[in-house]
């Protein structure tokens, strides 16, 4: 993985010093609440319902075991013994003390981490495919490009005060595992007419109050122009994006109001006049960065069947929580953070340290964070999966549910977030209690439930096969249900099935939706496919046909 050189180290240390000084000035009364807010937000620090919340960047989801251990140690000493992994491959601490945040940042800097630009109206953490480098369906490893974008976007002088936040996702595989179509900019590695590698560039996707699927700005961009093209998009957005209304300030609104043709024309015009002098990406630099992501020293192994003759529990885990690896004899292994009685994405200090140890023992000392709020050990020898499973199982990290109903995406909701209208963690718990029969859950197959506690859509509810959105109805928590959303290469936005339902009725509503699916599905048809084939109507009719008995 990428290792800091003297420039990276210098910059994060200088950032810690800068933020320490800003915090000191705020506590001394030299900076007003509002002035400090603009500064702390660009450093991942929110003031939340109970305490500050600190969001730490995990660039494109990649962590060394040393870094994960440090995150665990910080959770124990500065927080209440846990952290929350988010849908954008970051980690959040919910209970740090404001005056201790500079110390936390200093500790993060020691392990080459930071909270730079994890919030605020600037370019956020660049996210990517958690199976980068190991997936059989990959054209090229996106991580060197992610690292290039990370560096270019860090402290970019022109784009630190954008109209609104700006999120970039990069993928290099046939399947889109980074939700790139619902990002402000999606970068897809593709081949040009002569077989050369370049990029398809999308813009204007996003969730929140106005969910929109990104559109293609340029079908093929030669790779040396990646940064100048991104600068042209950002400059058009910085100058022309709306600043009068926070709800209309994302680039998706600009792209929609101009239309994609006019937006493209303006970007290309800006690019024409700047690209000659801008930062061209030379192949030597990409080769240097690619060197950090060379494949680890795989052993020469044959594929085996580790599940043969083992317990049902292991077989289920192996089937659902491990996926194919491009190297024979290896498997990518999910560490499920979706145990039924735990808030989705939460992990204790001890679990972090344990997984760090397991990464050292089984997966070349690296861990990845997925946008579905799980972790991944990417390079595990197939015949070590059984002993790995035994350890994960004891630690509550082997719930065999990846991609299934109970692998829910969920924001922190009303329990922690000052923006939320309604709880999401407790709804996840009610759903888990209702769907505790794993034979039924497995029979349903691939099913993505995504839940957000408010319109800001941190839980990506619009692109859930089933989406759940918390709404406030005269001070009570209600939930609007959508079906038919998807985040992958065939991204679509879910449709609302009807009036919102009470918290206690969410699980029954889902059960009724699934009844229709089980009755109507064709062979190998996922819930999503059935909804796409039949439309919302039969689902809606079933849900509202009879009142839900409390």
């Amino acid at each position: 993985m990428y290792r800091y050189d003297v420039v990276d180290k210098t910059l994060v240390k200088e950032r810690v010093a800068q933020f320490r000084d800003q915090t000191r000035r705020f506590l001394a009364g030299e900076l007003s609440d509002d002035e400090f807010r603009h500064l702390r937000l660009r450093n991942g620090l929110y003031i939340q319902r109970h305490a500050p919340m600190l969001r730490v960047a995990i660039p494109y989801g990649l962590l060394s075991s040393t870094q994960l251990r440090a995150l665990g140690s910080i959770a124990r000493r500065y927080d209440r013994g846990y952290g929350h992994f988010t849908t954008r491959q970051n980690i959040q601490y919910n209970w740090p003390k404001l005056e201790e945040v500079p110390d936390i940042l200093a500790e993060l800097a020691e392990v080459e981490m930071h909270a730079i630009q994890t919030s605020g109206n600037c370019i956020r953490n660049t996210t990517s495919d958690h199976l980068a480098g190991v997936s059989p369906d990959e054209l090229q490893d996106p991580r060197p490009w992610c690292e290039l974008i990370r560096q270019w976007s860090t402290f970019h002088p022109e784009f630190t005060y954008l109209p609104r936040k700006f999120k970039i996702a990069v993928t290099g595989a046939a399947q889109d595992r980074a939700a790139s179509l619902v990002h402000d900019v999606g970068v897809h590695i593709v081949r040009g007419a002569a077989g050369e590698l370049g990029f398809e560039i999308l813009a204007g996707g996003g969730l929140g109050r106005t969910p929109i699927i990104g559109q293609v700005v340029r079908e093929f961009l030669p790779r040396e122009h990646l940064l100048t093209y991104l600068e042209a998009i950002l400059r058009v957005y910085n100058l022309e994006g709306r600043r009068d209304n926070l709800q209309k300030a994302r680039i998706k609104i600009l792209v929609r109001s101009l239309g994609i043709e006019e937006f493209r024309r303006r970007v290309e015009a800006e690019w024409e006049s700047t690209r000659a002098a801008g930062p061209r990406v030379d192949d030597a630099e990409i080769a240097r960065l690619s060197g950090f992501f060379n494949p680890p020293a795989y052993r020469s192994l044959a594929n085996v069947e580790p599940a043969a003759g083992k317990s049902t529990a292991f077989r289920a885990w192996y089937r659902y929580n491990t996926v194919a690896h491009k190297v024979p004899g290896y498997r990518a292994v999910y560490v499920s953070l979706k145990k039924p009685d735990v808030a989705p994405g939460d992990m204790t200090d001890g679990q972090m340290e344990l997984v760090a140890d397991l990464a050292d023992r089984y997966s070349f000392g690296e861990v990845r964070v997925t946008h579905t709020q799980n972790l991944l050990l990417a390079d595990v020898e197939q015949d070590k999966t059984f002993e790995l499973w035994q350890t994960l199982e004891k630690a509550g990290l082997a719930t065999p549910n990846i991609g299934m109903l109970t692998d829910m995406i969920c924001c922190p909701g009303l329990d922690f977030c000052s923006l939320a209208n309604a709880g999401s963690i407790d709804v996840a718990k009610l759903i888990n209690e209702r769907f505790d029969d794993y034979d039924y859950v497995y029979d349903l197959g691939e099913l993505e439930i995504k839940m957000s506690g408010c319109m800001n859509a941190c839980g990506h509810h619009h692109v859930g096969h089933i989406g759940i959105l918390g709404v406030d109805k005269s001070g009570e928590e209600w939930y609007q249900i959508t079906i038919g959303g998807a985040a992958g290469a065939d991204a679509s936005l879910g449709q609302v099935i009807g009036p919102s339902v009470a918290k206690t009725d969410v699980a029954e509503t889902i059960a009724r939706l699934l009844e229709v699916y089980v009755e109507e599905r064709r062979t190998d048809e996922r819930f999503l496919d059935t909804v796409r084939r039949l439309g919302v109507k039969p689902f809606k009719e079933r849900v509202y046909a009879a009142p839900i008995a409390a």
């Binding site: 210098t10 200088e14 270019w152 402290f155 002088p157 005060y161 109209p163 600043r243 930062p279 030379d282």
Partner: protein
């Protein structure tokens, strides 16, 4: 009391006047709003003396393009803590329009922004008295940068990670 500025890394007294301040000193260095300038370019030019124009955030750099050679100062107005259009205006002026005069940041300008403003090409800053004494230090908040930009206003040479490509490449 005369206005003080941070210019080229030093605190100086402002030798420019805004129109409202300039009554009676007919040939002083005069700063106009973009609207004032546009209303009667010929008369302002005929007046003689040094001229400057302040752009509002929504003003387009390209609409000032024909006049850039006549101006010795161009400013960008920052209307509040979240305003960011001036950063792009500055780079367009320096890099696309090759403006080499004084590029001034005015309005909501705080020392925490100076490093980025300077990298975009600003070389003078109107700051409050509370901020101005310590502000020069903010220009060296970071001693390196990842991306080439326009560092003409900075009192030191930043180290860029990536090689800058010769123009025209």
């Amino acid at each position: 009391m005369p206005r003080r500025l941070l210019r080229d890394g030093r605190i100086v007294e402002d030798d420019w006047s805004y129109r409202a301040e300039a009554e009676g000193s007919a040939r002083s260095a005069l700063i106009l709003t973009f609207a004032e300038w546009q209303s009667d370019r010929a008369a302002w030019t005929a007046r003689g003396g040094r001229l400057g124009v302040i752009l509002q955030p929504a003003d387009r750099v390209e609409s000032l393009a024909p006049d850039i050679s006549r101006l010795e100062l161009i400013g960008a107005q920052f209307s509040g803590p979240s305003e960011g259009r001036g950063y792009s205006q500055a780079r367009q002026l320096r890099e696309q329009r090759k403006f080499s005069g004084e590029l001034r940041a005015t309005g909501y300008v705080r020392r925490d922004q100076l490093f980025f403003l300077a990298r975009c090409g600003f070389n003078s800053f109107e700051l409050s008295d509370a901020d101005i004494e310590d502000a020069a230090g903010a220009l060296s908040t970071f001693s390196a940068a990842y991306q080439p930009s326009n560092d003409a206003g900075l009192p030191f040479k930043l180290q860029h990670r990536r090689r800058e490509t010769p123009a025209g490449a």
